[in-house]
């Protein structure tokens, strides 16, 4: 870890750091986060990174992410790492992974899909395609992750 980044991370007393966000995807990450508007949020864009060349980063004071938030962020920024900070110390650090089974996080882009006309939870599964796609459990259409909208 570089000295500068260390300082930034440690600048939070309690909260969550989402690091190694694919550069350019931080807006999508902010869209996913359920914020009440009172949290202190710090955003870094296009920072240099050994792993990704360029990366984005978000730090939020006094917030732990819900299961849904974590899974949604994994979808838009699959390389992201999550660090939970407590009293200036790193409590837990996890790498995100796109879940195999994605429930109620994605809006199916197919207008003729039942999930867009009935009040039901969407369900998607990862496919073996390269780059990875998601397949709707109902209409069976496949989409790139960049083609789908993440539910709030």
């Amino acid at each position: 870890m570089s000295r500068i980044k260390q300082i930034k991370v440690n600048a939070i007393r309690n909260g969550t750091v989402i690091d190694h966000i694919t550069a350019g995807k931080v807006r999508k990450v902010l869209d996913i986060l359920e914020l009440d508007g009172k949290e202190i949020v710090m955003v870094g864009m296009n920072l240099s990174s050994k792993k990704l060349n360029r990366k984005d980063i978000v730090k939020i004071e006094n917030k732990e992410l819900s299961h849904n938030e974590v899974n949604s962020i994994a979808l838009v920024a699959p390389n992201a790492t999550l660090t939970i900070i407590n009293d200036f110390g790193v409590v837990k650090k996890v790498s995100l992974e796109i879940p195999e089974y994605i429930e109620n996080l994605i809006v199916c882009p197919n207008p003729k899909c039942i999930t867009n006309s009935e009040d039901i939870k969407s369900k998607f599964r990862l496919t073996k395609d390269e780059p990875v796609k998601v397949r709707c459990h109902y209409c069976e259409k496949k989409y790139l992750i960049d083609e789908v909208k993440i539910k709030k």
């Binding site: 003729k112 039942i114 006309s117 009935e118 395609d129 459990h137 109902y138 209409c139 069976e140 259409k141």
Partner: protein, 300 residues
């Protein structure tokens, strides 16, 4: 098997099992008894042929049907939700057979009712009973589903039937010829799936000269309405019309299939050749649907 929603859910073993039941029903070796069984045919999107085929299948087994066709007759109009309609119908009947233009509707139905659901077509997505009756027709005429050479001709872009058939045959080491106008080619996502499964296929723009080495030619209609310029249609339509004269060098076991209704893509002079199989194919639909219904209701 609890429901029949998508060909994706079926293993090779389950497909072959259904073929075997259909064959035994046809030969009279199995006589499923559906007396006192009631099938609800819910055709939110009307399709007379498919509905008649299911109705016949049920009645040939001494079962009975209740029929709803088109949304006009439903309570959907009165503001009742789709889910409520299904749950109500499920109180009356033993099996739901449904068709709708909404994709995924049969899957959804199978998740909210506790009787078996058969997908009789959900928009551009799946029509598994059609795929199974096509497979049954192929195995009946060829003696096997393995290692066949199959031509799919016509509108391969929008035709749900040819998509399902391509996906289903992929399990059986098939070799395909896709014959279509260039802008009505087999969609890329289907070709990608086939490549992932190691299926061999070639693409052509002419029927003539490309059918002599086939075991099956599956013809679908190229619709004039798909063409922006009617002149373009006139230019290509002759390449997708099958005539008797084109059949002089085909293999002995060669058969022509078509999901029906036909317009003019197969000339009527083909009808009385030994190669025409589209009317028996329709009859096979009844045996296949009998096999599906009786399997789902645990009667075979």
């Amino acid at each position: 098997m609890k429901n029949l929603i998508s060909m994706r859910d079926l293993s090779k073993k389950e497909i072959l099992h259904l073929m075997n039941i259909a064959s035994k029903i046809e030969e009279g070796k199995i006589v499923p008894d559906m007396q006192r069984k009631l099938a609800a045919l819910l055709f939110f999107e009307p399709s007379t042929r498919t509905m008649f085929s299911f109705d016949t299948a049920m009645k040939r087994m001494n079962g009975d049907t209740i029929i709803m066709s088109g949304t006009g007759q439903t309570s959907v109009k009165k503001g009742e939700t789709f889910a409520d309609t299904l749950q109500t119908i499920a109180q009356y009947s033993d099996i739901i057979i449904m068709r709708s233009s909404i994709e995924g509707s049969a899957r959804f139905a199978s998740e909210i009712v506790d009787i078996p659901v058969v997908n009789a077509g959900d928009g551009a997505n799946q029509h598994p009973t059609q795929a199974l009756l096509d497979l049954y027709s192929i195995v009946k005429t060829q003696g096997t589903l393995e290692n066949l050479s199959i031509g799919l001709a016509g509108d391969l872009r929008f035709g749900r039937t040819v998509h399902s058939l391509a996906q289903a045959m992929a399990l059986f080491n098939v070799k395909f010829k896709f014959i279509s106008p260039s802008f009505l080619k087999m969609p890329q996502y289907i070709k990608d799936d086939l490549k992932l499964q190691g299926v061999k296929f070639e693409e052509y723009e002419n029927m003539e000269g490309n059918i002599d080495d086939l075991d099956i030619l599956y013809v679908t209609r190229v619709q004039k309405e798909r063409f922006a310029d009617p002149e373009d249609y006139e230019k290509v339509k002759g390449s997708y019309i099958l005539e008797k004269t084109m059949l002089s060098n085909v293999k002995e076991n060669f058969k022509v299939m078509h999901p029906l209704p036909r317009v003019d893509e197969i000339h009527t002079d083909v009808d009385n050749t030994e190669f025409a199989y589209y009317f028996p194919q329709a009859k096979n639909g009844v045996y296949t649907r009998q096999a599906i219904i009786s399997t789902l209701l645990g009667e075979v």
